[in-house]
Structures are given as C-alpha cells and as structure tokens.
Symmetry: C2
Subunit: 218 residues, 2 copies
C-alpha cells in the first residue's frame, strides 16, 4: 500500500518506514521541512536495505497515500491533524500516539476533549477514516528491524474496511493485531499505556502485552 | 493468611475460596445471610477437597481477617464498603470488581466518582489498605481449580506491604502478579476491561492478557 508517515522523521517514522518498506509497501515520509523528510528517507533506505521510499512536506505526501500514519508526539498531533484535515478526507488515518505524561515518577493519561487522541483526530478531521493502533509498542522497537517485537497491538476503529487494512499493516510490522472494537475504546487503550509506563518504572523494563485466549483458528 | 471473602457466595467467592483453601489459607466466607455463607462453605470445601473454610455474616467474618476480598458485583460494592467501613480499618482490602456495563453490544467503563471502584473503596473506607487486583480474570475461571489460568494480574495500591501481600495471594491463586504502581492506576486497569470484553464479543472468546518484557530475574 501507499503509506504516508506524517511527521515521519523521528524514531517512530524511521522504524515504521523501514519495516513497511521491507514488507513491500510504498513509503512516503512527510515533514514540515522537505529537507528533513529527505534525510529521513535516506535513513529508512539504509535501515531497510532498499525499498520504495520517498519524502516531501506533509502536505505533499498525504494526497497520494492510501494510509496516513500520524508519527507525531501526542502534544503535536491535534494541531497537525487540524492543519491537514481537508487532505485527510477519505484517507485511512492511523493514530498511535499516547497522551500520557510523566511527573514525579507517576504516569498519567491526559484525556483530550474528545476522550482520546484517536477520537480527537476523528473529531478534527471528520472526513478521515481514523483507526487507532500501535499504542503498546515503544517506538524505538520498530527501528530494530531484525528483532521480533514481543507484543500484540489492539486496533480500534469504526470503519471496518479501514480497520482491516491497518490490522494487515500491523502484521507486516511484526505485531499481532487484535480487533479491540470501536474507536471509542481507544481511550481505554491509550490510558492503559500509563500502566505500562508505571510497570516500566517498577521493573526497569520496557513492557508490553499479549492478549491470551483468542482462538487460533478464528 | 486469614482471608475473608465479603459477598463470597457467588462464583467469584466459591472459586477464590477453593483456590485459597488449597493453597493453605484460612478462608472465611461472608454474606449478608449466614445461611448462604454456610452453603458456600460446603461448596468450597467440596471443590477444594478440604481445607480451613468457615462462614458467617460479613460483619462476623471481617474482624478476624488479615485480608478482606470484596467478592461483589460492581454495582453492589460501594454500598457494601460504606456499610462495613469501620470494620475495614487497618485491613488489607482487595477490590477486584470492574464497573463495566454492556449495552447494545458495547462495553463501557462507568467511572465511579473517585475514578475507579478501588479508589472509591479507599475513599469510602479511608482506614482500609486498599489494593486493586484480579480485574483481568473471569470469575468463572477460578472455580476450575485444576485448570491453569493463562493471565497475569496487574496489582495497584499505595501501601507497599499490603500490595506485596496481595501479590503473594494472587500467585497462590495461580495468576502471575505484576506491580502496576499506585492505586490511582486502577482506573486504567478497570477501564481496560471494557476492551477485553469487546475483544470477547469480536472473537467469541474469553480473553485476558500477559505482560511481556519483564525481566525474569527481577
């Protein structure tokens, strides 16, 4: 698929881009700066060992994409979505950031007005087909392209076709997707990341989770 | 340990009581009705194949217990805690119910005023040492005493000694405990159960989760 990575110049974008390129997808790295987009393209091609990877401004890469991954920090995502809103009409848009803040050694879910960042994106870009995914995985994991990721990802969304497409992309990224229901459930998934962060503090680890009890032959 | 099961006459209490009795704990089944408590004792002894199991009214079994497990439905828990509040002073109190409702095929976390049922219990019984645990496991699992439970449980609480004691009890129940930080995190753990319920709908399953990435030799 043609996948645009909005704000894809950071660790999340680089790692995702490399894994997507390796899986045969056409990757388009977006940034507010065209120069930084091209730098990221070079990093992704090196990490992936090749692939179809191009870059440009966010405004330039989004129109040609089938799937738009918001590879942004939680604080930056709402403004970026509002800026791009018109361009996102009809696109499958993946929201993966977690509005979890850390202060005094405690992690807290800071609910956006819409309930979660994914729901906020849907509210701010009503024509987009927003799917929430990949909240459980530390972004640095993606850049270790040869290493398996011991995590599932819960995927939520209200557009069944969009959700299926994103679940397939997650599988290509090396993460088992689990259908977690409607987009409104993203608030629970995003909030739970605060617990994962707390466990990381306690055990000096980088934890995630796997869902148990799903029949294999579903 | 001496463990009282408040409202322990339902499936949760029977299963927990049997597993605790098998692990060598002294179990005290509490109910509003002494007669039903004694019926539950008989069921637990049969299920466990013996053990130290006694019963009485909630008011009678709580004072002698070191740990009080609230084996109640979410709707019933706040009133029960307020009724027993004085008796819970200094006790380790386990909150395991999930305020998740299901309507029109959707599961929703109904946040109590304090943010979660566990925090509500702490607010309503300020002298109790409330620990939140066992949210992830369908209560019917506990009664299958010979079957392993493929789930971790995230344990949250503000009293470190109480939390350690409950984590040890969880291990005795056959569920790996994971320290999930302060009691305030229980709202995220309880809310996440709505996602597990959604996954159950989607996959016609009874799912739970395991935390990945915790070092074995912690």
């Amino acid at each position: 698929m043609k996948v645009a990575l909005v704000g894809g110049t950071g660790p999340a974008g680089i790692g995702l881009g490399a894994r997507l390129a390796r899986a045969g997808h056409d990757v388009f790295v977006g940034s507010r700066s065209e120069e930084r987009a091209h730098e990221a393209v070079a990093k992704i091609v090196e990490l992936a060992g090749g692939g179809s990877v191009n870059g440009g401004t966010n405004r330039n890469v989004v129109p040609g994409a089938e799937v738009v991954v918001l590879s942004l920090h939680a604080e930056a995502q709402p403004d970026a979505v509002r800026t791009l809103a018109g361009l996102l009409d009809g696109k499958i848009v993946v929201s993966m950031a977690n509005p979890v803040t850390v202060a005094d050694g405690r992690a807290t879910f800071e609910a956006p007005p819409a309930g979660s960042l994914a729901e906020q994106a849907q509210r701010d870009a009503p024509g987009a087909r927003v799917v929430s995914a990949l909240h459980e995985i530390r972004v640095s994991r993606f850049a270790k392209v040869d290493r398996a990721i011991d995590s599932d990802t819960i995927v939520t969304g209200d557009d069944a076709t969009a959700k299926e497409a994103v679940m397939a992309l997650c599988a290509d990224l090396g993460v088992r997707p689990v259908d977690g229901g409607p987009l409104a459930n993203s608030r629970y998934v995003e909030a739970f990341v605060a617990v994962l962060v707390s466990i990381n503090f306690r055990y000096k680890a980088g934890v995630s989770y796997r869902i148990t009890g799903i029949p294999e032959n579903r």
